[in-house]
């Protein structure tokens, strides 16, 4: 039985396609593992194998889905008490597409409430534990998806990334995570955090799995999502084994100050490896990147303050008991139903959009966003990819940053610029580093950022690095 665990999702799919493996057997194997989960990665696990299409490209390999994707008849709570027990009457487009391609729903994964957080500690259903060290966070907000894949509780998973919510937990859990070009994957049915930034993407054990999963997520634009786009061509499954001719730009703004020495060391070693594989590695500049986090923490809360207005106790989800009138129903429901971080961001966003402050905050942040997109456009004239550490820190201890929101927000320092620019970015595990103060070495992520729709090339470059590195995360899947 343990042989199944050693198969990557792509290998399992190939085995099923060849008739050597039964999809239902694989589903049951992972369902039982997910049900025995000790990391609180899942908020719901399927009771039995659904009718599975094993003739699709994903061949029946089961999929873990972040809680915030709407799944018909299945709890979709976005990690929030305000949606506790909420089962939508419809299914998100991307989940439908993946099911049609042969990836049945294994379970729903824990997350920071409404995708707001970088440690998965902001979940109404409790924190997720990092499979590498149960005293540490898995990152967030897609912490459950990352922990499930890293811990071998799911072959692969999908999450969402608004400012780093796929890439950062992938880095902290030692797996691959990819945030596609904004618009590449339909957002229909994704419970929104910040609409102009949210994007679904794969979390996977290796680059090939991520590519295979992503190839079934993109495609023709979704008529139900006005901001979705026709993906040009198909995602190519990666094969390249060198980086000859690949030009990597290293922005000083995102690869120096504020990065843990251990992370920086692994990052620099990876750059050296890239050179050996034939890449050119040169410094580049993103002059406005230093303002990205500030702009993000205006824009994302502004959008969330409006997106989360619908959670009012009127139509679905939690309603506070005992309210005497409309206003008290609203205020008590939202007081009880939302966690502290969500409330903080709603307040920030409401303030930023207020009459008289709009231009100073929202307007200025939008201008910064434009500048950052221009910075990347200029960099891509000279470089194929901009590379940075994914996260400035390895997995930190539970509770370590809870009291200091600003320290928590700095986790997104390297990931937010690509989100603001709407361009694809991914994280691959490139090594282990001791946390500050010492201890068991923990995974370090390497971020590649590319121009819009460069996913295939980016996955190819990541694959070459991965093959040369031979990062091994099997120890935490036992």
């Amino acid at each position: 039985m343990s042989g199944l665990l050693e198969l990557s999702a792509s290998q399992a799919a190939a085995s099923i396609a060849r008739g050597e493996l039964d999809a239902a057997e694989l589903f049951d194997f992972y369902r039982e593992r997910a049900a025995r989960d000790e990391t609180n990665a899942f908020t719901w696990v399927a009771g039995a194998a659904p009718e599975t299409r094993s003739d699709g490209p994903l061949a029946g390999v089961p999929l873990a889905v972040k809680d915030l994707f709407a799944t018909e008849g299945v709890p979709s709570q976005a990690g929030s008490r305000i949606l506790e027990g909420y089962c939508p009457p419809y299914t998100a487009t991307v989940v439908e597409r993946l099911a049609a391609a042969g990836a049945p729903l294994l379970g729903k994964t824990n997350q920071d409430e409404f995708a707001m957080g970088s440690s998965n500690e902001n979940s109404a259903f409790g924190p997720v534990l990092n499979p590498w060290d149960h005293r540490r966070v898995p990152g967030g907000s897609s912490g459950g998806s990352a922990a499930a894949v890293a811990g071998g509780l799911a072959p692969w998973a999908i999450g969402t990334d608004t400012g780093g919510s796929i890439r950062q937990p992938a880095a902290l859990c030692g797996i691959v995570g990819c945030k596609p070009t904004y618009g590449a994957v339909s957002r229909y049915g994704m419970i929104a955090f910040a609409s102009s930034l949210d994007q679904a993407g794969p979390l996977a054990r290796d680059v090939s799995d991520a590519a295979l999963l992503l190839s079934a997520m993109v495609g023709a634009r979704d008529p139900r999502d006005s901001t979705s786009l026709d993906y040009p061509g198909a995602i190519a499954l990666p094969t390249r084994v060198d980086l000859k001719g690949v030009r990597l730009g290293v922005p000083a703004e995102l690869s120096g100050e504020g990065i843990e020495p251990g992370v920086l060391g692994v990052f620099e070693a990876t750059l050296e490896l890239a050179r050996r594989l034939g890449a050119s590695v040169e410094p580049c500049t993103l002059p406005h990147a230093g303002h990205a986090l500030a702009a993000y923490y205006v824009l994302a809360p502004a959008e969330c303050s409006s997106n989360l207005a619908r959670f009012d106790g009127v139509r679905y989800g939690y309603r506070a008991p005992g309210a005497s009138d409309l206003l008290s129903m609203y205020t008590r429901t939202r007081h009880d139903g939302f966690g502290a971080e969500v409330k903080r961001r709603i307040m920030l966003g409401t303030y930023a959009l207020s009459s008289g402050y709009y231009d100073a905050y929202y307007g200025r942040a939008q201008r910064v966003r434009t500048k950052i997109a221009e910075d990347f456009a200029a960099a891509f004239e000279r470089f194929d990819f901009v590379v940075t550490p994914t996260s400035p820190a390895v997995a930190f201890e539970l509770g370590a940053k809870l009291a200091d929101p600003l320290a928590m927000y700095l986790n997104d320092f390297c990931t937010v610029p690509a989100s603001l620019a709407g361009i694809p970015a991914m994280s691959i595990p490139v090594g282990l580093a001791e946390p500050p103060g010492g201890g068991t070495p923990l995974p370090v992520g390497f971020q590649l950022i590319g121009p819009a729709f460069s996913e295939s090339d980016m996955l190819g470059a990541a694959f070459a690095l991965e093959q040369a590195l031979g990062f091994d995360g099997s120890a935490v899947r036992s």
């Binding site: 979709s76 910040a194 207005a309 619908r310 009138d325 609203y330 009459s355």
Partner: protein
């Protein structure tokens, strides 16, 4: 010295569009279906659902913009207007803000500020004695209406009186009706108007403090509400007070105005660009399609009808009450062109007096019948009085005027010899009146002519009788 105070009124008009589906989802529009049966994840604001703009609503919006002479924006964007209320499924309304679909324009001398698209709210039903949300035992929401496409038309403050408001809004309704984009029915809420009212000393350029009258649901209430608000403001100003900016509700039953909220309570809607929708780019093809979809507008029709020899007033009436105009044109098509004015008179006067607001095309009076009736009158085959009697029959039962005239013996008495005999009989029957006329009291002839008309039951031509009478009196 009292200063003449001049009312300044602007309108914000909401028009429900008659599209196949809602503004941002695929639900069909609702016309009285059971509650919450025309809903989906999008118009219920379920988590994760996203809006998609309705192309037909944009097309209708452009048609309205063109009909009102607006400038069509090449690019317009949707904004979110944020406020909490249970009739908004998302607690924000998708509307347009600083980049609307159309700007500028004019209708009948009143300039249009802007025309934009948005979504309608759901309907709240309050259970309990008060019938309003405050004090109700329970409130329920019917989302069938939620998400119905609306066009908001905002005028410049250029209306000058309650009557002007009413008349202008009727012109707007006729224009929109001719476009076929809406039922524009105030009773059913497909046409709703808010009025901004202020007063200023006549001749002053700057505007006074305005108040807003919300959601008046009939032309009469609108006129009365505006009049009541003008009176209220005039009393305040003439009493030395100052008008406060507020939003008011007019109760048509009591005729009173009550404050809904003051300036301090005004919402901060925190408008920002709707990130779930892409900008609306109006292409040349979209504009051309909107132009092509517009038939003859009422103002153009009025000009054309005037060329048929109708008075300006009648041409206007027939153009802006399109159903009368359509009927008129159907009758004229069957008649000599020099009967046009008479046909218009018969429709706007006698026929409307008998059928009221009914569409004449749905009455029993066929266009052929009215054309025949007018032709008979013009040929003096029928007196006006007799023709009215025939019209009574036509309205009640339909039929052919010639047959009705024959059955009832209503044909004009054209036999001069017989008429002359009746005139002679009348003179001998009333020698006093005859003597008065001969003595110079011309008015006394009325009694003599009247006697003949009574005798003929109106079938005689009064002019002809008078002529014969004068002849026999030797005048």
């Amino acid at each position: 010295m009292t200063v003449e105070l001049e009312p300044v009124i602007g309108l914000e008009i909401h028009v429900q569009l008659k599209t196949a589906t809602k503004m941002f989802c695929g639900c069909e529009l609702s016309f009285g279906e059971p509650p919450n049966t025309r809903t989906c994840p999008v118009c219920l604001g379920l988590p994760g659902a996203l809006p998609v703009a309705n192309a037909q609503a944009i097309h209708f919006g452009l048609m309205i913009g063109i009909a009102l002479g607006c400038e069509l924006a090449e690019r317009s964007i949707f904004h979110r207007k944020n406020y909490f209320y249970p009739d908004q499924a998302k607690n924000y309304q998708i509307s347009q803000y600083d980049e609307p679909l159309c700007r500028g324009g004019e209708l009948a001398g009143v300039r249009i500020h802007r025309v934009h698209l948005e979504e309608d709210a759901a309907k709240l039903v309050h259970l309990g004695e008060s019938g309003r949300i405050h004090g109700s035992e329970q409130s329920v929401v019917d989302f069938n209406r939620g998400g119905t496409p609306l066009v908001e038309i905002v005028t410049e403050p250029e209306l000058r009186s309650p009557e002007h408001v009413r008349e202008w809004l009727m012109l707007l309704r006729a224009t929109l009706r001719s476009l076929g984009v809406s039922d524009v029915n105030m009773d059913e809420g497909s046409l709703r108007a808010d009025a901004n009212v202020s007063l200023r000393p006549a001749g002053q350029v700057t505007l006074g403090t305005k108040t807003e009258l919300k959601n008046m649901n009939s032309f009469r209430f609108l006129e009365r509400g505006v009049a009541a608000e003008i009176d209220r403001q005039r009393a305040i100003i003439e009493g030395g007070g100052e008008v406060e900016q507020e939003t008011l509700h007019f109760d048509p039953v009591s005729g009173t105005l009550t404050s809904l909220r003051s300036k301090e309570e005004a919402h901060d809607y925190r408008y920002f660009p709707e990130p779930d929708l892409t900008p609306v780019a109006t292409t040349a093809d979209m504009r051309a399609a909107a132009h092509a979809a517009i038939g003859e507008l009422p103002s153009a029709r009025a000009s054309r009808l005037a060329t048929l020899g109708l008075t300006a007033e009648l041409a206007h009436l027939l153009a802006f009450r399109g159903e009368l105009g359509d009927y008129f044109e159907a009758v004229v098509a069957l008649a000599p062109v020099d009967h046009a004015q008479q046909i218009a008179n018969w429709i706007s006067g006698q026929l409307v007096a008998r059928i009221g607001d009914q569409d004449p095309a749905e009455s029993r009076v066929a266009p052929e019948a009215l054309a025949t009736l007018v032709a008979m009158v013009e040929a003096r085959e029928l007196t006006n009085n007799a023709a009215r009697e025939v019209l009574d029959v036509l309205v009640a039962a339909g039929g052919d005027p010639r047959e009705i005239v024959a059955e009832r013996g209503l044909g004009a008495l054209a036999d001069e010899t017989a008429l002359a005999t009746m005139v002679a009989d009348a003179l001998s029957a009333d020698p006093d009146s005859a003597a008065q006329v001969r003595a110079g009291n011309e008015k006394a002839i009325g009694a003599l002519v009247g006697a003949v008309m009574r005798e003929t039951r109106g079938r005689a031509d009064g002019g002809e009788v008078t002529r014969l009478m004068r002849e026999q009196l030797g005048l």
